[in-house]
């Protein structure tokens, strides 16, 4: 009895209930976690990113699985998706760069031109997860999220390259465009119904979309006819850009691997000459979107060396990865560095793995094992994940 009282006092002092709701959910009980389990400290029951503050730093918050399917049809890293399937829950760590970004977004004036944020850092430090945290916040706040999961997929390994019907110099990528349109439609259904087109668009000789029709028809046109998928994407981006300043919706443009747009491609035309990124319709339209000549939203981007082409593996700064052209195009931007885990975040991640029974090796539970994991991974989140896999 006394122990439970002590637990309640501790919890009220902590200002929020760090209760292990997931175990409670599993056992079907609605009790607060007992204070004998210090591991539960590293979870937080606050699943709304808008309420995350510095107190939640280092803790893991839960995203309900239905929300994951609705908000992230295509955004999450592959290893994290596997983790969601194995643990049956999606837990994201609240970290300082994400809190910083959320603070800027909360305080930004949407009547001013869109501010560009570039999240950069070394390999495997959590840039994509920071972006996903921000996307979750924006979708909770009701923003329209334009999430491009990996811009590198648009500049390499493209099986079909068609000549664009709109502009003879450019090249279309029907497969990539239709995949992206499908995922975009899945995450932003209600917005597509409300926003109307402002111009008449002709898709070839016979089909057209009148003025004042909902944007859903543009997307469906792109999905139905693969040839005009890229043009549909271009129309969508143009309409969103024109209408965002009115204030009826806030637009978030989230691009992962933005350095792909200003690098080189591995694609070749039929005469074996290399393709420049600006010759691709998708890249051209996305570049126009990333300019800060529109208002009513924000642009959050991530640099990524992992999928990048012709860049050395030690490059991680914006100058190195974007090159001169990209840096000038994105300048001015707010850089947000993402470091490796702090000791507290490492503790939190380690305890989470122990608690979900991910670390099965007997020695992993000892102090020696923990010290070895910290040393071998260098507190790098990706290395820790890779190391903890077989253990």
């Amino acid at each position: 009895m006394l122990r439970n009282l002590r637990g309640f006092i501790c919890h009220s002092l902590k200002l929020e209930r760090g209760c292990a709701l997931h175990t409670a959910h599993r056992d079907g009980l609605s009790s607060v976690s007992s204070p004998e389990r210090p591991r539960a400290v590293f979870h937080t029951s606050e699943s709304d990113p808008a309420k995350h503050t510095e107190q939640h730093e280092g803790r893991l918050y839960n995203i309900p699985l239905e929300e994951v399917n609705a908000v992230f049809p295509h955004g999450l890293p592959h290893r994290f998706q596997q983790q969601i399937r194995t643990f049956n829950e999606a837990r994201v760590m609240v970290r300082r760069p994400a809190l910083e970004l959320l603070g800027y977004l909360k305080g930004s004036n949407l009547r001013h031109p869109a501010v560009r944020y570039v999240i950069y850092g070394e390999r495997g430090t959590g840039k994509t997860m920071t972006l996903c945290h921000v996307v979750h916040y924006c979708s909770r706040q009701g923003w329209l999220v334009l999430h491009i999961p990996d811009a590198h997929l648009w500049v390499k390994n493209c099986k079909e390259l068609l000549q664009s019907s709109y502009n003879k110099d450019r090249l279309d990528q029907p497969l990539q465009a239709s995949v992206w349109l499908k995922n975009f439609k899945a995450s932003n259904e209600h917005f597509l119904q409300e926003i109307k087109t402002q111009k008449k668009y002709m898709w070839g000789k016979r089909e057209s979309t009148e003025e004042g029709r909902p944007l859903r028809e543009v997307v469906e046109q792109g999905l139905a006819r693969a040839r005009s998928a890229c043009d549909a994407v271009g129309v969508l981006l143009k309409e969103l850009k024109l209408q965002s300043h009115r204030g009826s919706f806030q637009l978030l443009v989230a691009v992962d691997g933005v350095n792909a747009l200003w690098g080189r491609t591995t694609l070749r035309k039929e005469d074996k000459s290399p393709v420049c990124p600006e010759e691709l319709t998708l890249v051209h339209n996305l570049r126009k979107m990333l300019r800060n000549d529109w208002s009513g939203g924000a642009i959050v981007t991530t640099l990524s060396q992992t999928g990048s082409l012709f860049k050395p593996s030690s490059a991680y700064t914006p100058q190195e990865l974007l090159g001169k052209e990209g840096f000038d195009a994105l300048d001015p931007f707010v850089p947000i560095p993402v470091p490796n885990y702090s000791p507290r975040e490492f503790e939190s991640c380690y305890s989470y793995y122990l608690e979900r029974k991910w670390l099965q090796h007997e020695k992993a539970r000892t102090e020696d094992g923990k010290a070895e994991l910290q040393f071998l991974s260098g507190s790098n989140p990706r290395q820790l994940d890779r190391l903890a896999g077989p253990l």
């Binding site: 596997q82 194995t86 991910w358 007997e362 020696d368 896999g389 077989p390």
Partner: protein, 234 residues
């Protein structure tokens, strides 16, 4: 330079022909060289707790030279000699990096499959499901080890399959070899090795699967040939 490497290795060749390539892989150390001690616990013991032999060993180590530690010897708490042996047997043309990554992916695969089963199982069955990939690996290997083997003995012009006891090393080797060959030969071409191996290990852990069947076939052959057991002379 040849003479310097020879002196460094401590070997004492009978003749030193100038500029001859020195054998490195099976280089013979001088018998005075001692084995390296990798375990952290042995260095953390205070002086009083050591027995007489250990004190003598420590004094000897202060004077004698020590052999170079081989790259497979690790002071990590997570290193396991059986897993290293299995990784070496899986390795092709010296690509240890690939073999090791395949091994870690296999262990992760086993863990994921078992954890998914664990989370979906009802409460009373949760304790029966084993999620530790190392326990599963060791138990699977133990289940695959044959007790008795067959050896070819030629007597009077004819070769007979004679049942013969196996050493521990031979049993372990046969178990690992059968697992690897089963995965390499009898599976679909496009399945990845970690996937195949994790499947085989889980089946062997439950005493099912083609490797256990092969072990039983060997036992039956030995039982059938027990009339020739007296041909063995060792």
């Amino acid at each position: 330079p040849c003479r310097d490497t020879a002196r460094a290795l401590g070997s004492s060749p009978a003749s030193l022909a100038p500029c001859r390539i020195m054998p490195v892989r099976w280089s013979r150390y001088n018998p005075s060289y001692l084995e390296p001690e990798v375990k952290k616990e042995s260095y953390q013991k205070p002086l009083e707790e050591l027995t007489e032999e250990e004190r003598e060993l420590m004094e000897l180590k202060a004077v004698r030279p020590i052999k170079a530690a081989p790259p497979t010897l690790s002071s990590s708490v997570f290193s396991d000699p059986m897993i290293s042996k299995f990784t070496n047997m899986m390795m092709k043309s010296g690509n240890k990096v690939l073999a090791r990554s395949l091994m870690s992916q296999t262990l992760e695969n086993i863990k994921r499959k078992q954890l998914e089963k664990y989370h979906k199982a009802p409460e009373n069955e949760k304790e029966t499901i084993e999620c530790n990939p190392y326990v599963i690996f060791h138990q699977a290997l133990k289940n695959c080890q044959p007790i008795i083997g067959l050896s070819n003995i030629t007597k009077g012009g004819k070769t007979y399959q004679v049942p013969v006891p196996l050493t521990d090393n031979r049993k372990r080797f046969l178990a690992m070899k059968w697992l690897i060959t089963e995965c390499r030969d009898n599976k679909h071409r496009r399945t990845m090795m970690p996937e195949k191996l994790s499947q085989e290990l889980l089946l062997a852990f439950n005493n099912e699967g083609p490797v256990i069947k092969r072990k039983h076939v060997l036992h039956k052959m030995a039982e059938a040939n027990r009339a020739y057991a007296h041909f063995r002379w060792w």
